[in-house]
């Protein structure tokens, strides 16, 4: 059994790192900062769950073929920039195309790392953090409950798919109009089934005293350990370093 307290992270540094890594992944057109953030994210994942790191890589490899295909198209159709690979007189790849294909990979991997990292945040701590950020408790509860219900929604999705198929519908034999209609049907059924969770969650809240009239405050300390403080400071430092590097290179 894995000790849950060792594999969960404080929400503040994780959210800060996630936010800045996403911003750099979008804004950085050279790839240097994105690579640095990717390495940082992978290190955090390894630190939090060393046993599951192989699963993380396995999940990436499942999508690698699709990404390879997309990056191949990127290289093939991007014609601007200096030629890098030339066969006789035909330009096979340009510098811009290669760079964009590389950035595509890095961005995807950052996204994937974040998706692996975010479930490590304890939902209750996340709720407390929202409270500290002066976000109304009701909104915070709605947000955390939505996150908590995601596994249930997946279960419901499976059931919706089962009933959809078991009705005897042969998808291949449907015309275009009906195919679109079927997507609408699946989504609306899923939505209705997800909404059916609301009375249960409302009842659970009321039973704990979180009803409409009684005000409750979260009285849980949200203290950061040394490790979390180091992550946060390190993330701020790397951001400043990145900004400094880009301002120098732009002026130069």
């Amino acid at each position: 059994m894995t000790d849950r307290s060792k594999t969960t992270a404080h929400p503040a540094p994780i959210l800060f790192i996630g936010l800045t890594a996403s911003l750099w992944a979008v804004a950085d057109h050279r790839g240097i900062m994105s690579i640095i953030w990717l390495i940082i994210l992978c290190s955090i994942i390894y630190h939090l769950q060393p046993d599951e790191f192989s699963h993380f890589f396995r999940r990436i490899t499942k999508l690698a073929l699709t990404l390879l295909f997309v990056s191949f198209l990127q290289i093939l159709f991007r014609r601007s920039g200096q030629p890098v690979l030339v066969y006789k007189t035909i330009v096979l790849a340009t510098h811009d195309g290669m760079l964009e294909a590389g950035l595509l990979w890095i961005r995807f991997l950052i996204l994937f790392s974040l998706a692996t990292l975010l479930p490590r945040i304890s939902l209750y701590q996340f709720l407390v953090l929202l409270g500290k950020l002066r976000i109304p408790l009701q909104f915070g509860l709605m947000l955390t409950m939505t996150l908590k219900l995601i596994p249930g929604v997946f279960k419901e999705a499976k059931l919706v798919m089962f009933f959809f198929r078991f009705s005897g519908l042969r998808f291949r034999k449907l015309n275009i109009h009906d195919r679109f209609k079927s997507v609408k049907e699946i989504i609306s059924a899923l939505l209705m089934r997800s909404l059916a969770y609301l009375p249960d969650t409302a009842l659970a809240l009321e039973l704990r005293g979180w009803d409409q009239t009684t005000g409750r405050r979260l009285e849980s300390p949200l203290s950061m350990k040394l490790k979390d403080r180091m992550w946060l400071t390190g993330a701020i430092f790397i951001n400043l370093l990145g900004l400094w590097y880009y301002s120098i290179s732009m002026n130069g």
């Binding site: 798919m161 009933f163 078991f166 042969r170 209609k181 059924a189 209705m192």
Partner: protein, 222 residues
Amino acid sequence: MRLKKKNSGITHETPPPITVWAEKYFPPGYSYWIPDDGVHDLHNELVTRLDIKNNRRSGNLLWGAQAETLSKAGTQIAWVPDDLVPVFFTWTVHEELARACAVVDGSLSPSEIHDNLAYNLMQQLTIGHLSAQAPDRLSDGESKLLVLALQWAKKARWLFFDSLTRSFSDSTIEMILSLFSSAQEKPVLIFGNMSSGSPWLEPLSSLGSLKMRTLREIRNDG
């Protein structure tokens, strides 16, 4: 899944495993009842056979060979489950039934014919008063009755009933039996969780030759 004969253009589709199983143990010409032995349960048997719980991803049931197999099984197998909350795809009971009738014709857009078929079926099952109600808001018995109507509309070869008596009153069961007996083309009816002293065994035998089949003997055989 699909085998193509070379140069002939003829396509032979392999039947879904559950229909092969049903064909072997519940051949046409009879109705069947399965005794409640406290160990084997028709519901669990069908959940396993239809592979509902083993699918790790919901996408597996939406596309791919497995989904196609389920669709094919759905055209031949009808099932009124007890411990499975049904999913409905439309906003009213009438629309849901009309949709089920349209699906039999390979469409999702019900025509006037399908509307009429749905109306007739509602009259037969005396659920006409629920016509404009949302299917999700029905009571357990009404919901099960609607599921029966939807499965009946499929015109499947086999109709599995997890339990005939659960959630239904005696008058509702009588009405269901009259629906079965009035049908021109009856599916093979299989009733699960029946006790040997059930008062419904006699009326069921009037529907046709009634046979007992135990899940233990099926398991041991297969």
